[in-house]
């Protein structure tokens, strides 16, 4: 233990005291128009003590961390083994809801929606390397397309679904066209601006969208035209009548889960195929080196635009499922935090890694649900984890291994 180490720790502890004091140490109590302070010295002292101890043992911790842990990688599998594993996982995901309880299946549907969004953003951020902070805007477009088509034209889910995707794609195309000339972080801020504009428009176009109250009473999907309702409207056969079953709310939730699952399989299939196509190769090439791509005759705007539009389409489809699951859409569901959450799904999973995205979507949706009593600290920890991930493992949990050759100079 050297002397400079001790004085460093002391300075750090003093700084921690300054950081903690105005936020936790001196709580503002307002009574009417008067405010006073309620000091909590133990909070300040505890904060200082923790930082002091941490700083003192840091050199030792660093020595310990010097022996790096091996990165967990997917176990190497043969082609046949992988196929078997995939088939097994598909079967499990299809069958388990019939044995799960209602809230679990409902939560799983939400997880699947986030998987869909994560896969969409993964195309934009992971493959094409475009940081899109306004992704939630396309999600909102999809959700509102279904909600508005139902509200104003009485459309059902399955008729509206392609339109939700197409509408979001159109928005992605129109917004992407001008902004994709911009460089990385400018692009991030402009997309953030677009996301906010979409949300503000949804809030303010009161006569069309219902403003902050949004649109409610959005129906769940039908089964080949037979609605899953307890009581059918005049002249309509419900699904349970058709099958001669007793009505059970559980069935409705399982059905929505299965529908979402099918959509996720579709998304997964399309995106795995697309990245093996020339366009997908071009995305990755563009991400690695734009100037080299240009000199090889690739048109960066067109390539970026295709990634942007495709990502937006998946977000739109996810939005329609979200509207069906909630039965209600309002602008509150589409804030920047949601964009940040989807982005962290992609980042945590490992940019460009589809298995990683699925895993991260499960973690980031299920963990907060399990830690309900710590809801207050959820976002705090979330922000902290984002910072720590960038420090220690910016490549994500399951990074993709790319075959590469480097010239030794």
């Amino acid at each position: 233990m050297t002397k400079s180490n001790f004085s460093n720790a002391l300075i750090a502890a003093l700084m921690a005291g300054v950081l903690v004091a105005p936020v936790f140490g001196l709580q503002i109590v307002s009574v009417g128009l008067k405010t006073s302070l309620k000091p909590q010295w133990n909070m300040i002292l505890a904060g200082m003590a923790i930082v002091f101890v941490f700083q003192m043992i840091r050199p030792w911790l660093r020595a310990l961390a010097g022996r790096r842990m091996a990165l967990p990688a997917l176990p190497a599998m043969t082609e046949a083994g992988r196929h078997k594993a995939i088939v097994f996982l598909i079967l499990v995901s299809l069958v388990w809801p019939f044995f799960g309880d209602r809230s679990q299946v409902d939560l799983a549907t939400l997880v699947l929606i986030y998987v869909m969004l994560g896969l969409g953003l993964n195309i934009v951020v992971g493959f094409a390397g475009l940081l899109d902070l306004g992704f939630v805007g396309f999600y909102a477009v999809g959700a509102y397309t279904y909600a508005l088509l139902y509200h104003w034209a009485g459309w059902g889910f399955w008729e509206a679904l392609p339109f939700a995707g197409a509408m979001a794609a159109l928005f992605g195309f129109l917004l992407g066209f001008p902004v994709l000339r911009l460089r990385g972080d400018y692009l991030a801020i402009v997309t953030l601006g677009f996301g906010e504009i979409i949300r503000l428009l949804l809030t303010n176009l009161y006569s069309l969208t219902g403003g902050p109250d949004g649109i409610s009473g959005i129906p769940k999907p039908t089964v080949f035209g037979y609605p899953m309702l307890r009581r059918a409207p005049e002249g309509v056969t419900t699904f349970h009548q058709l099958m001669g079953w007793k009505f059970d709310n559980q069935d409705v939730i399982i059905y929505l889960y299965l529908a979402t699952l099918c959509m996720v399989f579709f998304t997964l299939f399309v995106s795995t195929r697309v990245i093996r196509m020339p366009i997908g190769r071009a995305w990755e090439a563009l991400r690695e080196d734009e100037i080299a791509c240009r000199s090889l005759g690739l048109n960066p705007t067109r390539i970026k635009l295709s990634a942007f539009t495709m990502g937006a389409t998946f977000a739109g489809l996810g939005g329609a499922f979200f509207a069906a699951r909630q039965g209600l859409v309002n602008p509150e569901s589409f804030t920047f935090i949601e964009s940040a959450l989807i982005l962290s799904i992609v980042v945590l999973g490992g940019m460009g890694s589809q298995v990683g995205v699925i895993l991260a979507a499960i973690i980031l949706t299920v963990v907060p649900e399990l830690a309900r009593e710590f809801a207050q600290y959820r976002m705090l920890v979330f922000g902290l984890v984002m910072v720590l991930m960038m420090m220690w493992r910016p490549q994500g949990l399951l990074p993709v291994k790319r075959p590469q050759v480097e010239l030794k100079v």
Binding site: V18, P22, M390
Partner: protein, 309 residues
Amino acid sequence: MSDLLPQLTQQLFNGLSLGAIYALIAIGYTMVYGIIGMINFAHGDIYMIGAYVGLVTLSAIGVNSGLPLPVIVLIMLVVAIAVTGVYGYATEKLAYLPVRNSPRLVPLISAIGMSIFLENWVAIGQGARDMAVPALITGSVHFTMGGSSFQVTASYSRIMIIVVTVLLMIGLSLFIKHSRTGRASRACSQDLHMANLLGIDTNRIISFTFVIGAMLAAVGGVLIAVAIGKLNPFIGFIAGIKAFTAAVLGGIGSIPGAMLGGVLLGLAETFAAAYISSQYKDIVAFGLLVFILLFRPTGLLGKPEVEKV
């Protein structure tokens, strides 16, 4: 028609005081971007923390303490500046220094994480609801213009915003221009590696940039809290995006540009609120951001960036 001039004057005044706040925050964005080319996403939240520290200080002193008003405001500003300076320093050391040499997206995501962290840090510590700031500076000056019935009202708190901002801007410009540290920071923003080779402690200059930016944002936070009279932990997000717009409008990396951009954005927003609709003022600000980046990505006073292979 006779009301037009006083109305315009009133909007001009409101716009200037709002723009002054944006300018104060925008300088932090522009200085950091100028040196390390990173968008400090958490900067808006530093501004929010500045406002909270100001309120804590005010509550510690008490509104009716008998101290003269300028002294109270001065103490609030000094405490807020000191504490947020430490916040600026600490965020840089904890969240940005370790990722400085990573690909571009990594520091940005780290900054977003820091922003979410700081917002919730304050929301847990001081409560997430709106908090009332006791009215400290009341009263206003009224001008009657051209014998018309319409008066121009300039509240003292908003006059204070403009005066304090102008003083700080002059001080900052002189400091950057003449002091040793100021020269070093200009050298760093021109070429970080070269400055390092010439013996400038670039780490120290980068820390200094974060601290100065945080301090100016804190002043903005305290002033706006006093003028508006309420705050919550989430005011930093929108204010930060708008200040970033101001920085881009003026030309990111340029300090005079940030001042100009702040004022222009404040004016645009106030006029949009007055003559279009107050609900659409945020849309106008974001729309402006998009348009500038599309048609003049280097901003009004910025230098074009040449990309070399």
